[in-house]
Symmetry: C2
């Protein structure tokens, strides 16, 4: 896997690390500041703009304690200066599938969008993800 | 709205036109050929690669007849040479929220990813979308 793909996978893993640790400042740092951002939490209406997005994370992370989501089957899709990652998010009672979109700001991959939704039929493929 | 944003909105509308008309060749033409593509249909596992993606559309479009999904609240998020659109997809019995990712190939916006999932609480905002 190329250096760039590794960097994107690292940014994606950082997102789940912030989530699992309920670490708001890590999450805040990960989200882009030079691009418009948005988020679609499972079942929610989309939230547009950094203020709404971060407010939702603050609320969600407050409820996360000793949560361990170990993502699987992460796959990087590289574009020019932007990228997205697809991965499963196995939760205690359900499995979600996520699209995480990243852009490079100051040489660092930052998140601009996250959509997660319930998946009813998980297909297990050879796992290429660099899950930490 | 800038010319580029209009072009992206047009590409997004083309996607729903192909869907509503059950037009496989229009759909096939819209999806990128120089980038890896993937799709997450509601509740499905992700499909990776053009062959799997187009096979799924062939199957889905076969079932679409006189279907009219008029998207609402489409919003364009522009990156460098790529972009994504968020929009609601009101279906007869449910409302979906979609992320549609596009890249430019030969000067034309092509689709590289589509994720749609059920939204349980639709928030109606002033509609900026150029729905045709």
């Amino acid at each position: 896997m190329s250096l760039e793909r590794n960097e994107i996978m690292d940014a994606n893993n950082l997102f789940y690390q912030a989530f699992n640790q309920g670490d708001y400042s890590m999450m805040d740092d990960l989200w882009a500041r030079q691009h418009d951002v948005c988020v679609i939490h499972p079942g929610w209406a989309p939230l547009h703009g950094r203020e709404s997005v971060m407010k939702s994370w603050r609320r969600i992370l407050r409820g996360v304690m000793d949560h361990t989501t170990i993502i699987t089957n992460a796959k990087v899709y590289l574009m020019q200066g932007s990228a997205f990652v697809l991965c499963y998010e196995p939760l205690p009672n359900t499995v979600l599938i996520a699209t995480n979109v990243f852009v490079k700001e100051g040489g660092i991959w930052k998140m601009v969008h996250h959509q997660a939704g319930v998946v009813y039929q998980v297909v297990v493929e050879p796992d290429e993800s660099a899950v930490h």
